[in-house]
């Protein structure tokens, strides 16, 4: 059988994670980089017939004027996280991909993000209704698909974290929500417009950010109606991954956690956006949710996220866990996590695209809950125990393989 051609349409296509996904896929195609960090390269997923690195074409939406290459060079120079020689070899490909990237929408993204955007987009925002923005987004995606002769497109949201949307104001039924799209009072933010754009077209949607995206019930309804699938939200890459691995230990050992303090510092663009109290709120909520679920009670928690410029992409997290042992004795575990954020995220994004495409091909519809292990706040999955979430992924793979 001829290989199927798969398009990855990235929202926030010139951000740190997106640029790393892009340079990474180019490097993997060319055989210039190892498979590290890619879950889908583990032996237990070898029989799944997943799309190969060579099958992918990349495009997307952005709001800033910058070249992919310049974005990547930042990761080389400031963060020393990607090899200069590797990037030099990928430059021509990056320049070509640049041309697939179109202006996105700023609907309800808040001040901090608007300030990043081009003047044109800010003006457009004042004029365009949400519906018009969706139409434009859809036209871009369809043009990308046609021009590149793609068998399938997957849309992934890698754009900046939006301020929280009050979910109570979002109508629960698709037909009611659809009506708001023509109005200036539409409560949704851009991430949800992108989700609607994709799902209406029957295209799978993955939300790697803590923004609302496809989470509202009405949009979940739309996905089912259009016979497609989606999942979110907020990629689980560092401190929260550690929480979902350590908290089950404290639970299983009946060691009550009295307090769990987590301080995160980093200096990339994501960090700058999250430095705004409004945008930070969305993220902190997502990082703080799981402890209660895993432990069955609520220790005092503190999550801080601070922009420290010199760190660049190097997210450093320090967590202090104060727990009680036998006879009530207080004990302490601390950890220090030093990882380059975009390089932790990028392989998971590639994994999610490969698995989502495979699930869609398999006929999975609605929420892809088996992807829970990839997310800080997996929609529809109350279990935050990482190993148990990973078992869900393995079981799904076994079932899909058995069907072949």
């Amino acid at each position: 059988m001829a290989r199927r051609k798969i398009g990855i349409w990235i929202i926030g296509a010139k951000g740190g994670v997106a640029a790393t996904v892009t340079v990474g896929l180019v490097a993997l195609k060319k055989g210039l980089a190892p498979n590290h960090g890619l879950v889908t390269q583990l032996p237990q997923f070898a029989g799944l017939d997943l799309a190969s690195f060579g099958d992918f074409t990349i495009g997307g939406h952005e709001i800033r004027e910058v070249s992919l290459y310049d974005e990547v060079v930042q990761l080389v120079r400031v963060s020393k996280a990607i090899d200069a020689e590797l990037v030099a070899k990928c430059k021509p490909d990056l320049d070509k991909i640049d041309k697939n990237i179109k202006p996105g929408t700023l609907w309800n993204v808040g001040n901090k993000i608007e300030q990043l955007a081009t003047d044109d987009l800010r003006k457009l925002k004042a004029k365009e209704t949400p519906r018009a923005a969706i139409d434009r987004v859809q036209a871009d995606i369809q043009e990308f698909q046609t021009k590149n002769k793609l068998d399938q497109v997957v849309v992934v949201n890698l754009s900046s974290t939006e301020p929280p949307v009050d979910e109570a104001t979002v109508p629960a039924k698709w037909k009611d929500l659809a009506k708001t799209l023509d109005k200036k009072t539409c409560p949704l933010a851009a991430s949800s417009l992108y989700a609607i754009a994709a799902l209406e077209l029957g295209i799978p949607f993955v939300n790697f950010t803590p923004s609302l995206g496809s989470a509202p019930a009405a949009i979940q309804e739309l996905a089912i109606e259009r016979d497609t699938c989606h999942m979110g939200h907020d990629g689980k890459t560092g401190e929260t991954l550690m929480k979902s691995v350590l908290a089950p230990m404290f639970a299983a050992r009946n060691l009550p956690v009295m307090s769990w303090v987590g301080h995160n510092i980093f200096g990339n663009l994501d960090g700058k956006v999250l430095d705004d109290p409004e945008n930070k709120k969305t993220k902190v909520r997502s990082k703080d949710r799981l402890l209660h679920q895993i432990l069955g009670y609520s220790p005092q928690t503190l999550v801080s996220i601070e922009y420290i410029e010199s760190l660049g992409d190097w997210k450093t997290a320090w967590d202090h866990i104060h727990f009680q042992g036998f006879l009530g004795l207080p004990m302490v575990l601390t950890f220090q996590w030093q990882g380059a954020d975009s390089l932790l995220a990028a392989p998971l994004v590639i994994d999610l695209v490969r698995l989502t495409e495979r699930a869609h091909r398999n006929g999975d519809r609605g929420l892809l809950t088996f992807l829970a292990s990839f997310f800080k706040s997996p929609i529809g999955v109350p279990n935050h125990n990482f190993v148990e979430q990973f078992q869900m992924l393995q079981s799904w793979a076994e079932k899909v393989e058995a069907k072949k």
Copy 2:
């Protein structure tokens, strides 16, 4: 139904862990302490009909002359790990238990441990054959059972870590091993003699130490023959517990671990014994085994255990994990674990006794592999993933409960 009376016969009955088990059980009986750290107090084990704290009577073997109370006071004064007021309230009970503790055996325990023992025991060692020592140990246990009208006894080894025994020199069949017991050349060390003593009597045996104990095939055969059960070895309380929780994360995320360095410092008697290179060897092996199994490859590892007197019971571990992310980028996780070793171990010992007694009552024979999550080197269980080991425990509990 009248409550069954259960005896806990502890080898190393005046050591740090033993003393904590003892004062802890007294405190729990009197309602003076919370349940923290006891796995068997989790809701999922509530329906198992486990023995209650009030059902236990404690006795055991020792080689040093010291009172339980004095041993506990060390944990109060030096380590500030147990409350002075609590201990004061338990003193009369501790003094009574002291009388149940008999002289043990020093067979092949090596120099370091022999130096701790009384002169009498050292002299006895020169005269007694292994068989004679076993007979004496059995008589002590049986007297304990009769005098205290116990329905069941469980033997737990909490004695000092012995130097390694060359397993190749231990006959594989019980009938061949039994013959060596009359000879001065018997290759076994004390921990295995205690195991044989218990199992021959049909009494369950739990080995909380890294010493060989009941691990040899010939002794496993004996357990089956005498229709009883056993498990080991080396309680998983700190750094290794962390490894069995963190390594599966690196495996599941395909993040190759390049090196894993673990430094352990502490200052109790256990630390003093492990400071001897011979005895340390046994422990390091036990702490180092699991990474290969979980990861499927062998990163460079280093495990150090050092005696730092001022720390007392406070085991402080610092681990440095160097791993490779996407595009081969090196990243670092470090953790610092500060826990009082005896208070981490003691509740697990109580758990193991309760679960072993229950398993025996249930008819389980041979190795109790469902107890794997409690051990650094669970005999007969290749899986070191903590969460999956814990699932084995939960499944067992469900089956036992279903049978009721």
Copy 3:
């Protein structure tokens, strides 16, 4: 010569530090505790003829209703920082000292602190002018001195950190400031009223808190006028001490610090008060000041102070220092400081009282700048290099000794 009797008059006399000073002095008098943490017990100060532990009598002002003993028991039970047996032996003395403690003033202390106070004091505050409050405070101190036949009194401020006072609103001359004391619009807060009360009487004043105290030029003028001495502010006990020791190393090695992040967590009453953004501002400013002075430039800094109840008196600080090495290479130093805050502070308070009394006896007047090493923000001393500050103390001691 007969021993001189010295009174220590503590503002905030039942707070954590005050209670530790008190129980500590009682224990030292009785020979129940070692000298650890007392700078004045170092050999280089042995020839200074400082007051002995037995020479001190304690009294002070408070705003809460609580007994010294109950306050100390918190440090025993919650924080496991002081020995239960020690406290039992000191109880009678604590109960006696309780009687020397009088109601203080709430002038401009802000909401957070007012909430701690008794109803009576809150009512009094509404009625009393600053001048009246000062008069009352002076009467209390004089009664204490007379009743206890004290040769000298030293006043130390150990009360809760006040919200910042706008220093621009404080008149620069004492005669102008004195006039505001009769008005409701007086800009000073309680710490400065206490300072005025002491200095007007010619009594030395030490400000261990970051509150303004005697720092305003007008109050410094008063001290000189009344022929007495004073110093402040903010005791240097933990993270900032570390900064004043580490930053000089980065400076001397020409290793540019790019960012210095400090996170502090603790759970005592001080932590609760500092949890209020207004009060926290005063503290953060004091902790953040010195880096610029030592380094000669301003790296990005972040200081957080968070109330984590379970930690009690155990202040845990995590600092992350990101610096540039040769050829611009970024490197990292992190440290973790785990100390009981009140036990770090208390010996310094005793040192300050002994040294201040000695300086006063020696004829030193105005600011006691040689005490700089004890303070986060030493008034009048631009040098924050700890070792150089300590040399100032040693030089002073040599000079005083030479004069004898």
Copy 4:
């Protein structure tokens, strides 16, 4: 005045530190790198009239066959510590310097180091007397000086750490030591032969390694006799620097240190050599010496140095300091130091050469004790307090400047 031309003759000229010194000086000359890490670039030394980066010519001795460029590429690729682009620009200069590097001597360097050497050198070692080796070394240095028309040469030892030499076997007088140089039983190791070679020629010698070098009394006598100067030993770059900064704090605050544990891990060639127990002994002694001097008593200490290949040049140190506070309460400070070893060392080597050349020009003879702050074990200086050592450097600079 015309610039003076200065030669740096490096023993171990292709090692990690040497390669970094070399590439660094080339980069500094070309204006491609910032001054970070160079103490001599601080404002307080601006008036000293030190040699400029452009004044230096590099040569030296080696025992391995490798090119400087290849050595530097390791620091680029494995350790990601030096910029690839920077190195590319310096390659021609490195290739030229390669030609100035001559075969050294293996006298008494022990097995581990011999294994690194070329066959030729191993054979030569069997034949040559120490005296013959010294003569050869001197001829190489003189040829270097003549050929490059150098006004002054400074010899710096940057070669691998030798196993300890029993100092008791080294004659105390130069005339007695000189006699042993003709014998196979000469107790000195190579580092001392190099020292003798330099000093006999009146050339200053700096020993950056913990090897004995010029430390013996007889060699110190030689330096004076030949009217030249020298200093050592063991550059203070990481964990020990931290100790010399932190220990004075514990001393000044009268906080008794109970134990100080330091674990060092790294993976460069130096680490491989130090992995040999013999060579490690020399280093550990040097790292462990200072605490007693600073504190005035000897806490329990532990220093480990372990070779962890994946870390490359990144020396990671974890130190655990257990100290006693007021009323005897135990408290803990831990730190984690992550620095690239060669990049920490290289600027100090350049500083030492500049300062030694200046001191020689100034007429300083014998031990240059004012350089103490640069060394873990400064010969002839009992004071290990870093800030006070740095004051010695500043005072010297003031005096030299005043003389100008």
